[in-house]
């Protein structure tokens, strides 16, 4: 029997899914992967090992590091030819780490999600202060940081976690589509596998800490100016 992630991948492809995130998957003798915006290009540099995905995913077109692999800044200009389904799975695990297991768990109705407040309350060390972020600041931060297009850096995941135990959406600044699993977050409106987000990433936790720090620095400055 196929491993669960490969089974999920195979089922999605059989259902006509064109790709995942910014990746186009084409069935050849094996599979070929490229940027969805490179579909019509014939001048692509050819790679053949699934492990090449590590390098292809590392930097954007301007050679800047991509700390968030689901950010909408996948580099262009390459095609990755893969022999079979296990190779495709390995490459996708490197392009979009952790997303296939999350998708497979979601399909099996076993994907537990964690509210943002629970993630923040769990932090220790330098990130402990992130839990002090207000609901209003969360609304602004998630709306800015996680948006699918035009974010800083933005992210193509579908958010499945709530703000807290009340089940509230973390940001009302994002379209409802951002929270609905099968929607193509690139806004091309195609049938693709979703990049599911079951829990806030460390980058968002780090940003929450920054928001709290900036806010407390501002309060201190205001207090100081007020006392003069």
């Amino acid at each position: 029997m196929l491993p669960r992630a490969e089974r999920a991948l195979s089922d999605w492809l059989a259902s006509g899914a064109r790709g995942i995130g910014q990746l186009l998957i084409v069935k050849t003798g094996g599979f070929s992967l490229r940027h969805r915006e490179d579909e019509a290009r014939a001048d692509l540099q050819v790679f053949r090992s699934p492990n090449d995905a590590t390098e292809l995913a590392r930097l954007d077109d301007a050679e800047n590091y991509r700390p968030l692999k689901t950010a909408p800044n996948l580099r262009h200009g390459w095609v990755l030819e893969l022999a079979d389904l296990p190779a495709l799975r390995l490459a996708l695990d490197l392009f979009y780490p952790g997303r296939l297991p999350a998708l497979a768990a979601w399909e099996a109705n076993q994907l537990a999600t964690t509210p943002l407040r629970a993630t923040l309350d769990r932090q220790t060390g330098m990130y402990r202060s992130a839990a002090k972020i207000s609901d209003g600041e969360i609304d602004e931060l998630v709306g800015r940081f996680c948006r699918s297009r035009g974010g800083e850096p933005g992210c193509l995941r579908t958010i499945l976690w709530a703000r807290d135990m009340t089940g509230a959406r973390p940001s009302l600044r994002l379209p409802l589509d951002k929270f609905i699993a099968p929607v193509d977050q690139t806004e091309r409106g195609e049938h693709v596998m979703p990049l599911l987000c079951q829990e806030a990433c460390n980058l968002l936790v780090a940003e929450a800490r920054k928001v709290v720090k900036d806010s407390s620095n501002r309060a201190e400055r205001t207090g100081f100016e007020g006392s003069c």
Binding site: R4, D93, P97, G98, P101, L111, G125, E199
Partner: protein
């Protein structure tokens, strides 16, 4: 790698970085090497600051054939990450954690605790200063050091004791980024004409490639990442009337793949402390 574990998976846990593209490279490279040897049914990495996260890893290895998961921290020492962050994020109850369904997760010792690490540090020191008389040389092993956990510096101290006992170098000392003795004080800490500095880090990431060179005074400001520069730094650097040699980190050594596997194998042979993680 004769040890074969067809019903087990290996999870390599690294730190990763949101700013340095080289931080996760050793873990990814070693995972690739171990995968090719076919020791485990599955090999995966997860990172504190990159994807997949440690939380993502809770969704890995769902095949019923995988009865055991060996979790090996690709960290240089016991410390805040191995004692607090990794158990918390991976929901480990102790050295052994049984998941619903019966899969057992085995929490192994960090890579840096392996005895072969001493030889890797010595090899690095010899490689960067060929022909330099050890009797006129101080070897500085630089660790991170942190106020968050008193165990963080223990591994670096242990390596210094082991190398000192070999009686090769005129002096072997510890230095740290964030606690005394500080690496920025290297000129005051040493008296020999040659000083060889080996970072006790897994990767040539933010600390070993970008921060420590500034603290040593061989770079005036933080440079680009190692992979984004054309050449590695040229040794020696002439500072304070001394020849200063600076090495790259040890985690990319091919030998490190064996170390990660051996840390997993060691779990099954070690006398187990089954008490909960503090």
């Amino acid at each position: 790698m004769d040890w074969q574990q067809p019903e087990s998976a290996l999870l390599i846990v690294g730190h990763g970085s949101t700013v340095n593209p080289d931080s996760s490279a050793p873990s990814l490279a070693q995972a690739e090497a171990i995968r090719e040897h076919g020791v485990f049914r599955e090999v995966a990495c997860c990172f504190w600051k990159e994807e997949p996260s440690l939380r993502d890893a809770l969704l890995f290895f769902r095949e019923p054939e995988i009865r055991e998961v060996y979790v090996v921290p690709n960290f240089i020492s016991e410390g805040y990450f191995t004692e607090t962050v990794i158990p918390r994020e991976l929901e480990l109850e102790g050295r052994l954690t049984t998941r619903p369904g019966g899969q057992v997760w085995k929490y192994c010792e960090p890579a840096g605790n392996h005895p072969a690490v001493t030889e890797l540090l010595l090899r690095r020191a010899r490689e960067i200063a060929p022909g330099v008389a050890a009797a006129e040389t101080t070897l500085l092993i630089v660790g991170h050091g942190t106020a968050l956990n008193e165990n963080s510096a223990v591994a670096a101290k242990r390596e210094v004791e082991k190398i000192s006992a070999l009686d090769t170098y005129a002096s072997v000392q510890n230095a740290y980024m964030e606690e005394a003795p500080l690496i920025s004080d290297w000129a005051r800490l040493t008296t020999t004409p040659n000083v060889v500095v080996v970072p006790f880090f897994i990767s040539d990431g933010l600390h070993s490639y970008q921060d420590i060179p500034v603290l040593l005074g061989i770079e005036s400001e933080t440079t680009a990442a190692a992979s984004q520069r054309e050449v590695f730094r040229r040794n020696p650097h002439r500072h304070h009337g001394r020849d200063l040699y600076y090495a790259s980190a040890i985690g990319t050594e091919p030998k490190f793949a064996e170390i990660l596997v051996e840390q997993a194998a060691a779990f099954d042979t070690a006398a187990l402390d089954l008490s909960p993680i503090a």
